[in-house]
């Protein structure tokens, strides 16, 4: 139906979108070329912020590495974990509903609450982890999980897994339900073991769902902020610093807003780029249109 009134239908949305997203996004480009403390007038400094970010700021570079490591970690703690449980739950058995309910439960609580809770669980002196270790006689393994640069990022990633594995379990479970039962029946008749069935039937047919899951991990991983901010905010010594927390530190703690703007642009550029690259590589460009 052709009508010029169509513009009216999108006008309110367009106005809000323009004022609160498009214009500020454009302004980011301006601010990224300035030095600005939020109070005094911005001072133009050209590409200085960008060259600092790329060549000098080793903490920023490290934060990207941390973010990527985190994403890869979540492939295991969220996707693989969820997938494994989905497969285990695939065939109905006694207590199945209970398991599914409890497995998904952590997903519905807020990220901040989960982060704060797990910060306590990892506590050196009275946290659940160290208590559990001494319960089973391994107290010499007790350490400040969030205070040790070698374990902090892994600890945060595990918390992320605790929270999000349920989501992936649901996704894979739904995908599993789509697989025709006849395939399994035929395999049974051929005498294939359950393990072989899983390997040759289930997994290959789950590839589409797996692709989606990995994309979610990537996009979600770069957008992570709440979990890291609530649990460690980059400590100890930036071993859990991710670009978004570092940006906040510069923009709002150190009043380097211009620099923060430049860092943000780099982050958006890289994360969008990686997501798009992933989509192209897995041939799902049509998801965008």
């Amino acid at each position: 139906m052709r009508t010029e009134k169509g513009i009216l239908f999108i006008l309110p949305a367009l106005v809000i979108f323009a004022i609160f997203i498009l214009f500020p996004a454009a302004q980011m480009f301006y601010y990224s070329f300035t030095q600005w403390d939020g109070l005094r007038l911005p001072k133009w400094i050209g590409l200085a912020n960008f060259s600092r970010a790329v060549f000098v700021d080793e903490i920023f570079q490290k934060s990207f590495l941390n973010n990527v490591l985190y994403i890869i970690g979540t492939f295991v703690t969220e996707v693989a974990f969820g997938l494994g449980v989905a497969i285990l739950l695939a065939k109905p058995f006694k207590g199945f509903g209970v398991f599914r309910t409890f497995f998904f439960a952590p997903y519905v609580i807020s990220m901040v609450a989960a982060g704060l809770l797990w910060a306590f669980i990892y506590d050196y002196n009275f946290g659940l982890v160290n208590d559990f270790l001494s319960l089973i006689g391994l107290s010499r393994l007790a350490r400040p999980w969030l205070g040790d640069t070698s374990t902090a990022l892994a600890a945060v990633t595990i918390t992320s897994g605790w929270k999000y594995a349920g989501l992936y379990m649901i996704i894979f479970y739904a995908a599993l339900q789509q697989i025709p039962k006849q395939l399994y029946e035929a395999a049974n008749l051929d005498g294939a073991s359950e393990w072989k069935q899983t390997w040759y039937i289930t997994l290959p047919l789950l590839f589409p769902a797996l692709r989606v899951a990995l994309l979610l991990c990537i996009a979600g991983g770069f957008a992570a902020f709440a979990l890291f901010f609530a649990m460690t905010n980059g400590q100890p010594f930036h071993s859990t610093e991710i670009p978004s927390t570092w940006i906040i530190k510069h923009a709002f703690d150190r009043k380097n807003m211009g620099y923060g703007a430049a860092l943000t642009l780099i982050l958006i550029f890289v994360s969008t780029g990686i997501s798009l690259l992933y989509l192209i590589l897995t041939g799902r460009k049509e998801a965008l249109s």
Binding site: G38, L39, R40, Y124, T149, Q235
Partner: protein, 426 residues
Amino acid sequence: MVFTRQKKSFVVMLGLLILPILLITGISFAKEQISLRFAHAQTEGEIYRLYSAIPKAYEALHPNVKIEVIVQDQQIYEDYGLDTMLEGPTPPDVYALHGRHELVVKAEVGFAADIENFVKPWKDRFIEATLDVPSINGRLYAVPRAEELVTAMWYNRKIFDRFGFAEPQSWSELTDICQTLKANGVTPISFGNSQLWAFGNWASLITARMVGKQRWEAAMELRERFLQPDFVKALSLIQEMGEAGFFAPDMNVVHPDKGIMNWFMGWGAIHPLGGWIPSFVAAEAPEDFEYDVFDLPPVPGGKGDPHMQEIMIVNLVVNGKTKYLEQCVDFLKFFTSPYNAQLLVEAGSMMPVKKAHELAAVDPHLVKAFGFGELAKEIIGAPDEDFAVEVADTFSEGAAMVALEKKNAEEALRWVDEQLEPRRTR
């Protein structure tokens, strides 16, 4: 006399005439209603209560003035809360501000008023040394409201007694004590350093005592580099302590308040922190907790004042854009009057007002801690308040890295210089 009807109506008419005249003149005599906003970040304790009580007392003395008190969380206030308020629809007329660095910035933008002329008549009530911080080019842009001791060696007396320690007078005595503690499974020195300033403040004092106040300020103001032999010497002291295992391994994840609680629980014998410890103890410590304080011993080979203290000044600033400059200054005068000074001191907050401590009943620990200042010839402020936050944080982080053996002294200082290079070349 009998009130005849005529006399009555005369009285009524007279009344009707006088009433409006009274009202009109009354209105013009009535003072202009003044409304002030006072912002601060003191969220706890007796001091918080006083920060509300003192404005109320002022209101009682000045019926035409109403003061609205606005409190914010410290971290937010310092990072962007105050700036937001100043730029917002309801900016404060009077506000608290820590240290010198921010005051200079605010003055530049017009948010701190030059009140030298107003304060001059009663300037002499303040301790001389404390007027340095709020002065820019010799003129006062704020009045000093509190002296806060930034770092002192608070220790768990029961632990010390258990091992028969005396308060160390020299650096080697300190390391001996730590050695014994460590050998007996007690963490010698603990920090709640999740915000970097707890350890950073302590490291700053060690460094400033080693290199001298001038060199310290030159480095923090980025006029000189940090990688210099004396600075290396200072951080090497920390390095030795770190290598000997004197610090708690999780110190960088522990919140400052939690660090104090851990200290109450006996995890950590010495807890170097500021002058707010006594009021914290009073509010939160277990009944049987015993503590005391000793001054950081002189650093071996130090070029600065061996008894240098780190003292922070909290200022009360008048917003340069306020409509009621005189009233605000008058409020400040009231705030720092001897009577209120006494109340504030008793609440645990040291006043830069002469004789305030003599009048008040102060926690003896606090008196002892401030007594260290009497021996001091030089005073430095807290690094993140007298200098740019980024510089202070970077230095503090470098020091923490040395303490936890992530880098040695030289590497850490080189790292600090590298990180601050972009700022240096602005």
